[in-house]
């Protein structure tokens, strides 16, 4: 039985908890959070120990792994603590709030035998997974251009510039960390890390201290290039949506979480694609999960973490070193944004 503690029981923490709770290989034995209200509710209804101090939890509990779903500004310290206690770590995205922390944690865990994973959940979406494998097989030839976009209606009214962690870049707030990290990770996963990041722009829409929209251009030594655009004040979207468009020498793919279209210049018999447009829906590539609480990708991502722990497989699909790649890009976006700079 793998014993797990969860640090931070907000929206993501409770969803991870409920998913893992129905996994027979796992027992959630302890929770840490600074909300006594949440802790006392959990304690009343569940068989768990609760702590207002995560340090205490690590000290007292005999755990195998932790889930870190606190505001990102606490990730670094907690993950270091977990490393000292010899624990496997699953941390919500973004991995940390700056590049140095991400670098340090990645090298700390490298070769340690401890499983480490960042919650870039798109890597476990069935459509994006299919595209990953099509691109690896070279189905659309050499990639030339791409576009990765994400839209959400997360922030729907002006803020008061308040003091929460969400209203400062230093603490991991803003659309780049919260939302663009997903779109950037998807580029890393599907296409690879760019060599240069140029022409970034940050816009404010409702937020006072952080950016609400960001766009950027990614350049690669081999000549391919692409753009990223995200907006988290997108009132025209009911649910968060990721959109990816990839143009290659032999075909083009347009995808979101639910479906993809592929245009082939010549037929591909192996995958059943004719020349011209082909449409595949999520229903064509869908995998059920042991439990589906908010989309099977969330279940698949945690199942992967548990599987890696169980079989001692350090080849995690979304390891810290993958999280670090996204942070390298984010650092470049903040470095060279040239217009609409947030002051």
């Amino acid at each position: 039985m793998i014993k797990i503690g969860i640090i931070g029981i907000g929206r993501m923490g409770i969803s991870h908890h409920a998913i893992l709770n129905s996994n027979d290989k796992v027992k959630i034995t302890a929770l840490a959070d600074n909300s006594k209200f949440m802790l006392s509710i959990m304690k009343t209804y569940l068989d768990v120990s609760v702590y207002t101090s995560w340090q205490k939890m690590l000290e007292i509990e005999e755990l195998d792994a932790i889930i870190v779903s606190t505001p990102p500004t606490f990730h670094y310290e907690i993950i270091k603590g977990a490393f000292d206690s010899g624990l496997h770590v699953f941390v919500e995205k973004p991995f940390t709030v700056n590049l140095n922390e991400a670098r340090e944690l990645t090298s700390l865990f490298k070769g340690s035998g401890l499983i480490n994973q960042v919650g870039y959940v798109n890597r476990f979406n069935d459509v994006f997974n299919s595209i990953h494998s099509l691109l690896n097989k070279g189905v659309i030839g050499e990639i030339i251009r791409f576009k990765s976009e994400m839209f959400a209606n997360t922030i729907s009214e002006p803020d008061d510039g308040g003091s929460s962690w969400r209203s400062s870049t230093e603490t991991g707030g803003g659309a780049v960390f919260e939302l663009a990290s997903h779109a950037i990770d998807l580029v890393n996963y599907l296409i690879g890390e760019p060599d240069r990041v140029v022409g970034s722009s940050l816009n404010q829409i409702y937020s006072k201290n952080v950016e609400d929209a960001v766009s950027s251009t990614f350049l690669y030594k081999d000549g391919k290039s692409g753009s990223v655009y995200i907006n988290w004040c997108e009132y025209s979207y009911r649910k968060p949506a990721n959109k990816v468009e990839i143009f290659g020498t032999k075909g083009k793919i347009i995808a979101d979480q639910h479906s993809f279209k592929i245009f082939m210049t010549t037929p591909n018999e192996e995958h059943g694609f004719r020349a011209g447009w082909n449409i595949r829906y999520i229903t064509d590539v869908y995998r059920n999960a042991a439990i589906d609480i908010r989309g099977t990708e969330f279940s698949h991502q945690l199942a992967h973490f548990i599987d890696c722990i169980e079989i001692g497989n350090s080849e995690n699909i979304s390891s810290f070193s993958e999280g670090l790649r996204t942070h390298r890009i984010i650092a470049k976006i903040f470095d060279n944004n040239s217009t609409n700079i947030v002051t």
């Binding site: 969803s15 409920a18 998913i19 909300s35 999520i282 439990i291 908010r294």
Partner: protein, 292 residues
Amino acid sequence: MKKIDKIVFGDNQFFGINHMSQEKAQQQAEKFFDINNIFRVYENVLESGINGIMLNSNDRAREICDYFRENQDKFDAVNFYPSIPYPHKYANMIAEKGILPTINEALFKGNSSRNILSMISRGGSALVTKDAMKLMTMLVDVEMKMFHGLNVKVVFLQNIITDLMLGYGIKEVFVAYSEHIWATYNAAPGFITQNLPLLYKRLKEWGIEDVVICASFNKIGYLMSPDREAYEKIVEENDSEKYQIMAMSTLASGAIPAQEAYEYINKQNIQSVVFGASSKKNIDQTSSLIKL
């Protein structure tokens, strides 16, 4: 338990919800931006003899409920199947503000003299915890306000909440919800789920009966975790006096042609189907294909 309608008309198409295609969802949302287009569809629903309407408690449903009340003569024979809450409203609020402020705003919006934060500071968090189920039923009542005066047959808890509580395995929530729905609305409690086999197993273990379960059910096993076979076995052995099963996503968001989809559904021991459509032709065709 009162028998539920064999055919219930759903509302996803009105609100830009399509699990398979964001593009399709957006097109539909544009079409139904004018609420009169929604009312026109309901006219067609009545004409095709469907007497069950499922409606999620989102902001636009308020206007739709007003319309049903204003045209009560016409909708006299219709049974309503509300589903609560509107999950995205809360998801965004929780992401932006946190769980406690979200509950606070939902319950005490515009009433500054009462709020959960002051309840906690007055009575301590232990008091609130003891009353967590009371808090839950208060949230239910807030969501149900818009349906007042309508003939409510079942009140469904949305799958995001059902499945979260199912994952946690908290029996008290299911018991308290069921009792509250019977007592307050004289309606059957309903649970929407993406995990029928697990929910069914737990409800039996916990001795919770006389509820309606609404779950995805389709020939290709889409949104049927852990697998289609488990679903088929459950309904085959189910006693529908205790648990009535309503199938949703029967076309798997359009992946299965209607004829083929309902040939499969009609063979299952299912008591009801909820489906959505926009055109009169599709409404009539679907209702003629469902033979439970």
